[in-house]
């Protein structure tokens, strides 16, 4: 896929921006504060319907404004598509695909795929388990629209079940109702775990091989889910029915503790997913350099995964990677990125010959 046009009217610091991204890669150059990252964020809005940085929609409205409006056009190799994401506090969020309004924002997701990488991801993602889950959820949602539906259903039932747990002491206990909220949670919960395991089993070999390219050492990178080794193959993953049974056992395991806590203690919303180096937790034992290599490898694995699942290469959005990466990793990343349809990079100043000349230079001057 290639994004050819982007219009912001307005978005964050841009009152009015028209970008023609042409056919291939682009390098957006501008001093800090000019809004390089905001452009990449706007592009990923078109693929996720929300901020990749986890910002609330309200935060993307310019200070003196009351709405933001992002339009973009991309080419999937067969035809061109247009999407628009509009938000105002008054009207809420509205999304359009090829001119037609969509009922739900989630319908936009999985139309136009992007992989976003920013230097702050290294600290953020590797420090917080919730951030890693978010990373994985955004990825799988782009590949399967049913995954996002399951996540939304799960989130809704989880809220209901947590309220139910909190009310247990106050009203007449109803065993049938307790069963119902557990069963309703187990249904999407098992599907989410199954999809995550499938995705991770598929991503792991790419991560491992990319890592050995980035790393100077001999250590091997891998992935663990729920503090356990991943199944070796997709065939070895428990079925959704089995996962459902396992999850229900977890939900029924500690009723007293759950009631006291007032929230659901086990489930996909608390599952840990992380990286390993020679089998040990990378988040705990890895050096800064190793962690950067892991995240870059993960991003390449994400890109390959989306390509395989959707049949289209995602657009790669790399935010200011060169200020954070050493020469060797940066060059290796560029080489790997050459295999993709379109890469959009940002940098504070023109890096000169370090970046191939076929990257269209776009300077943000005012």
């Amino acid at each position: 896929m290639r994004i050819c046009q982007l219009q912001l009217r307005p978005f964050r610091n841009f009152d009015h921006l028209d970008l023609d991204l042409g056919a291939g890669g682009a390098l957006i150059i501008g001093d800090n504060g000019r809004g390089k990252s905001n452009i990449l964020e706007a592009i990923s809005y078109l693929s996720l319907g929300k901020s990749i940085r986890g910002a609330r929609d309200q935060q993307a409205i310019p200070h003196n404004g009351t709405w933001f409006d992002i339009r973009g056009m991309w080419d999937d190799g067969k035809r061109q598509h247009q999407a628009r994401v509009f938000y105002s506090a008054e009207e809420g969020k509205r999304v359009f695909l090829d001119g037609a309004p969509l009922q739900r924002v989630s319908e936009l997701v999985s139309q136009f795929n992007t992989v976003h990488f920013a230097p702050e991801d290294v600290a953020l993602v590797l420090q917080f388990s919730a951030q890693r889950r978010r990373l994985l959820d955004i990825l799988i949602s782009q590949a399967y629209s049913t995954y996002l539906q399951n996540l939304q259903r799960y989130g809704r039932v989880l809220t209901q079940r947590n309220h139910f747990l909190r009310q247990l002491g106050q009203r007449r206990a109803d065993a049938a109702e307790a069963d119902v909220w557990a069963n309703q949670l187990a249904e999407p919960g098992a599907a989410i775990r199954r999809s995550r395991l499938e995705a991770l089993v598929e991503l792991a070999p790419t991560l491992t091989s990319c890592y050995s390219g980035f790393s100077t050492g001999r250590e091997q990178a891998g992935i663990r889910y729920q503090d356990a080794e991943l199944p070796a193959t997709v065939a070895a993953i428990p079925s959704t029915d089995e996962l459902r049974t396992i999850f229900l056992q977890q939900l029924h395991a500690e009723p007293v503790k759950e009631q006291r806590a007032g929230y659901t203690l086990a489930g996909p919303h608390r599952d840990s997913f992380g990286f390993t180096l020679d089998g040990e937790s990378a988040e705990t034992y890895g050096s800064q350099g190793q962690l950067k290599s892991i995240l870059l490898s993960w991003k390449m694995a994400e890109s390959r995964y989306l390509e395989t699942r959707s049949g289209h290469q995602p657009v790669l959005l790399f935010d200011d990677v060169f200020s954070e990466l050493d020469e060797m990793r940066a060059q290796q990343l560029l080489t790997l990125a050459e295999e993709f349809d379109q890469v959009i990079l940002t940098a504070p100043r023109n890096p000169g010959d370090d970046i191939p000349s076929h990257y269209q230079r776009i300077e943000l001057t005012h």
Partner: protein
Amino acid sequence: MGPQPLEDLVTALARLPGIGRKTAQRLALYVLKSPAQEAQALAEAIRGARENIGNCTRCFNLTERGQELCHVCRDPNRDQAVICVVEEASDALALERSDLLRGTYHVLGGALSPLDGIGPADLRIDELIERVRRDAVREVILAHNASAEGEATAEYIHQRLAGQTTVTRLARGLPAGSDLDLADRTTLTHALQGRTTFQ
């Protein structure tokens, strides 16, 4: 800020579902501009509806005051041994408009939602179970919304009715998360004809 009586009207209208502040303002100004009799008639219609419509004592659907039973429950041609369970009277209205059901209704008055403090005791579930026992009901059709709350309510009722009668559910013709009362006739026909035993 307009004159206080206008503000009061806007505030009252804005409390209606689906009406934002802007729309409420437009409606209020329209009412003020329209002839006095027209506005009077609207007020009367609201008062009349409020005073003269009550709930059927059997199915809790809407009925004219003074009538203990609604027109469906009174109709000898309707099959009293088949009950279609809906969340709201608006759902029964939608099904009734489509003219598809030969049985009767049971209006729960909502769906399970701990978030809103709604538990089984707040819905007319005991009344449903009582009806099933008393009237030798053959089939209970669960026509719930496709929301998380609708699904949970359906499962709960199914558990409570287990072994007492056949429980079916509408076919999944309704898109996930959608509301029954907004579905069109074709969708409802497919949903009713394709209903399946609840598992």
